[in-house]
Amino acid sequence: MDMLTSKIFLRKTKRGKVLKVVREHYLRDDLWCGSDLCKKCNQENSEVLDDAPLSSSTLCACPHYVVVDTNVVLHQIDVLESPAWKNVIVLQTVLEETRKRSTNNFKKLKEIMATRKDNFYVFVNEHHKDTYVERNPGESANDRNDRAIRKACSWYQTHLEESQQGRDKKKKIQIILLTQDFKNREQALKEGIPAYKVDEYVKSLKDFPDLQEKLAASHSEDNAENREPLFPEHWAPTRIMTGIKSGKLLQGIFHCSRENFLEGSVSVEGQDKSILLQGHASLNRAVDGDIVAVELLPEDKWTSPSGIVLEDQEDQDPGDQIEKEEALLSNSAKGKDRQPTGKVVGIIRRKWRQYCGILLPSVLAEGTRHLFVPAERKIPKIRIETRQAATLSSQKIIVAIDSWPRTSRYPLGHFVRALGNIGDKDTENEVLLLEHDVPHHSFPETVLACLPSMPWTISQEEVKRREDLRNLDICSVDPPGCTDIDDALHFRELSPNLYEIGVHIADVSHFVRPDTALDKEAANRGTTVYLVDRRIDMVPELLSSNLCSLRPDQERLAFSVIWEVTPNAEIKKTRFTKSVIRSRRAFTYAEAQCSIDDPLQQNELAKSLRGLNKLAKIMKKNRMDKGALQLSSPEIRFEVSTETNDPIDVISKPMLDTNSMVEEFMLLANISVAEHIFKHFPECAVLRRHPVPPESNFEPFLKAGKTQGFTLDVSSNKALAASLDAAVKPDNVYMNTMLRILATRCMMQAVYFSSGTVAPVDFYHYGLAAPIILISHLPFAGLYADLLVHRLLAVAIGADVTYADLLDRKCVQQLCNNLNYRHKMSQYAQRSSVALHTHLFFRHRVQDEDAYVLSVRQNALQVLIPKYGLEGSIYLKEKDEDSKPAFIYNPDVPSQTCGNITIRTFDRIVVQVSLDSKYVQHQKIAVHLVQPQIAGLSVEAIKTVNDSEPIPKKLKAGK
């Protein structure tokens, strides 16, 4: 036998050349079968396949090993996760085909195999001299792979036969092939290999009756073909590709609208206006996040986003029918504000993942077809088949989408696993971590092995290498209950006209060395995620809350930035050093504020704080003068019950002088470090920028200002800051804050980047009005980006050595992309966590609260309740409810008028907040109007209403 063959294939390059590629392929005779009973193979301790496997299948009672076909892995990966699978042979052919066809499933399969090493055996059949098959002329790649799989099966059979010659025939091990492919099964049976359909086999596993529910749905939908298609077909990939090349089609990412499930937009790269999509046919089965191909409609059919808020609100399963949507969409204002409108003609790449959510209560509880409602509003409901509906209906579950045929109103999916009971805080936390892709598993052994052993002390050599700042009066100021103190400050007078101030940051880079398991884990996590009741650490707790927490009266390693400044906050000298410090005290913001304000306190720390505070105020003023924006987003904090961990009260976070004092110095440190690093590493400094938002972003903001009679100038950040400061109304104090909230929403997302990849002109930080900035996020050590910065800075000051990846522009940019993603997700997770706690908070109460109208829609008011930072919608009309009073919508203002009451943006109203628990499964926060009173819409104020301010006059009925 020739042990060297070659694989030959033709490939067309991007430039249209045809290449003949030849790969040498070596065959071996030392690949073992992995079976315990085999006497021929020289395997050592790697026998995965049992000597005498037990069969729990009624279909195939004799002991057997299972070989899975590629299509099983591709379509039924969730089934394979079950412990029911034992003695499975995974062929290399299957692995490679899976990798080519679906990286997702490949990853999953790898995971399954890694966790269940004792049950899955990978047989490298492609390199085995007896199982390698060459492609025959006229044979498709698929057929060849099928043949390779069959060949491996029959090889196993004959190979094992020799080792079990004496055995009873009933006890002889069979090799069975599981495949979904009809042709392959036929062929296998013809060749004498027992082959079954995977669903057939799974159903026959008598010990695992629940497993069949995980079977992907696509195959039981045999009768779907006969039904009338509900959606237009998707074009063939080649047609889409040529269309995109010629410019007839546009490619972009589909975003479903949060407010209207029948509306979405596609953001095309290089175009600032996104393309609007309306209606079922135009959306054409696109799911949020998919990369789609869009065809633009002729210009006379362009419309504008409809003003209505629309939820797919069927409380019951509507079956496969599409409701009449004209009514739902008809009112989009023709003529003005028209936007490029298009329709989806094909999906280029699905971005389906697994979704958390709940089951919709079905009319037929015994039925097997159920609708699943994802927690994410932008994802459509998913049709699944399960027989455990009764038990699952009270649980949060995870579902994966399998397909979305033209005949089905909803995508088809299957049940993956249950997370726990609805309303359980742990379950809900799990949901929000999963939904936001936050890695929250506990740290693996390899990572923990990188930690220093306890008890840990600073060695003498380490002290020698660093600057000894233990004699300084350093203190930290943080929110109450903070255990990861990552920054500290000091202040001292050098001479009457020269102060020394220092910012000390925990030296995480000392512990997290590049290229260790710990480093990789941290790079993947990217950031520490702060939830209301929980913190998901980026590095193990030993580091985050102990060794890298600048605890009072303990010696800690730090990275220090030390300035010499004049009393006018003019910086004379900046230097950076690695140091050893000992913090004198950990203040909370309030305590620090006390020390500053209390004239009786004359100790060193109080004096330092005062000095710092004074300087901070000057620096802030300087910054404001340069055009830094003071934006706003409501921030709240929960008082959590110590026993149940449930929230018992909500308070807005107070803003004290000391907050902004710490911020100011962190910012200063930030800018100093950024400048220093950029000077030394112009190609690969990790920076953060806040791009100038395009003018069009400000439209809703300007409109809102106009309704209140303010002309807002958005031409530059300075002008914006000035006009925001000017927009004050004495009778509506909160209005200014509202404007700032709106302005915040117009901003671009700040992003991390590597300096070599962006032109220096774009470094500017819009919000902070700083020409160059690092990671402007203030908890300084919770981010992996900080770690990179520490390393760069350490190299820049000669305290550490560099390594290849640190200076590789591409590597750094890749890291940055991950960081951006993780950072965004962590913020979303944080928000969801707040929402979840608000939810829990209202579980047992109904409250009347002040609220402000954020925006006025055609059929609803979006309101903000500042006390809880909560947003909600008050529906003014519903599709088939005539009982509600008639509102007249004026889109120009915009305003809603009913009788003599007019409601405009920013108006103050009173609303009643409660938990709508009409369905136990699907609780949501409900907001009802209390004041102004409109018959038929508003609800009675509850007795305990405690607000005293009367409603401003203009809202009241009168004249």
């Binding site: 030959i8 294939f9 045809v18 003949k20 002329p137 006229g138 498709s140 090349k245």
Partner: protein, 290 residues
């Protein structure tokens, strides 16, 4: 070409041998030396062959590539020859030493393939005026043992015979850009019709006689000769005179006649052997491992 030093006595011996139709190695004037041929041994080429005629050794690889056709021949693909004289053959080829010979062979090959009868170049057209196949024929001369023209031509013909051209479809036209679709099956290829591809026959005149397949010694004795390109259908597609001596018109006519006869036979035998090799199916490649 490498000159061999021969004494007058040796030359006289060769002369007399040719006169008596018995050459030094026992051949008649129209006898060839043994030929060893193997095809398909360069796996990354689309077609390849190695041919050894006594001590002349040639390796040929054919590479197919897509290109736009020449504007004067929008419906045809084309062949491009390139000869490389390896310094393995003789130290004189080192550096640019072999270039003159290489160009000479190259030009003559190009000339002999120019006739419309030899190869149907329209088979190589993919999309009229837009895309066509270009066959790059790379010839590597590894050893010179006389009669290089014949050796090269036979090797080229064999390589072209085995050349697999990927089948390609014009999927869509869009604006001016054709979208070509490559067949996924590597076996889905087409072959050229090489029936009429010419073989070169070198006739050397020694004394009053002429002979085929001269050895280097014989070449040394001859002052003139012709190289004739003979297609499979016995047609002469190109002629070239070699050597410094002159030829009488009468003997030239007779030489051309003989050449076309010999060429037809050589062609026929080569085609037969190639077919035999092909039908034998996959066998172990020998290559240079002998």
């Amino acid at each position: 070409m490498a000159e061999i030093l021969l004494s007058e006595a040796e030359k006289a011996f060769i002369h007399h041998g040719v006169q008596d139709d018995l050459r030094c190695d026992g051949r008649t004037r129209l006898g060839y030396r043994p030929i060893i041929l193997e095809t398909g041994l360069v796996s990354n080429a689309s077609g390849s062959s190695r041919l050894r005629l006594a001590n002349s050794d040639v390796l040929v690889g054919v590479k197919v590539e897509l290109a736009s056709p020449l504007s004067e021949k929008p419906l045809e693909g084309r062949l491009e020859f390139f000869v490389d004289c390896s310094a393995n053959a003789t130290p004189e080829f080192e550096g640019r030493g072999g270039e003159d010979l290489a160009n000479e062979i190259c030009r003559f090959l190009q000339m002999s393939y120019m006739s419309g009868d030899t190869i149907n170049l329209s088979e190589l057209s993919v999309l009229a005026g837009q895309q066509c196949w270009v066959l790059y024929v790379d010839i590597l001369i590894l050893e010179c043992g006389g009669n290089l023209y014949d050796t090269v031509s036979l090797a080229v013909k064999s390589a072209l015979y085995t050349t697999q051209i990927p089948s390609i479809k014009v999927a869509t036209m869009d604006g001016d850009q054709p979208e070509l679709e490559l067949s996924e099956d590597p076996y889905d290829t087409k072959r050229l019709n090489t029936q009429n591809v010419p073989c070169l026959v070198t006739l050397m005149k020694i004394g009053n006689h002429y002979l085929v397949d001269p050895t280097p010694e014989e070449e040394c004795c001859s002052s003139s000769g012709v190289v004739v390109a003979v297609s499979g259908s016995k047609k002469i597609t190109a002629v070239r005179k070699i050597g410094s001596g002159s030829l009488h018109p009468e003997s030239l006519v007779s030489m051309l006649k003989t050449a076309s006869e010999v060429g037809a036979v050589v062609n026929k035998i080569l085609m037969k052997k190639l077919l035999e090799e092909e039908t034998a199916g996959k066998t172990q490649k020998v290559g240079f491992m002998r």
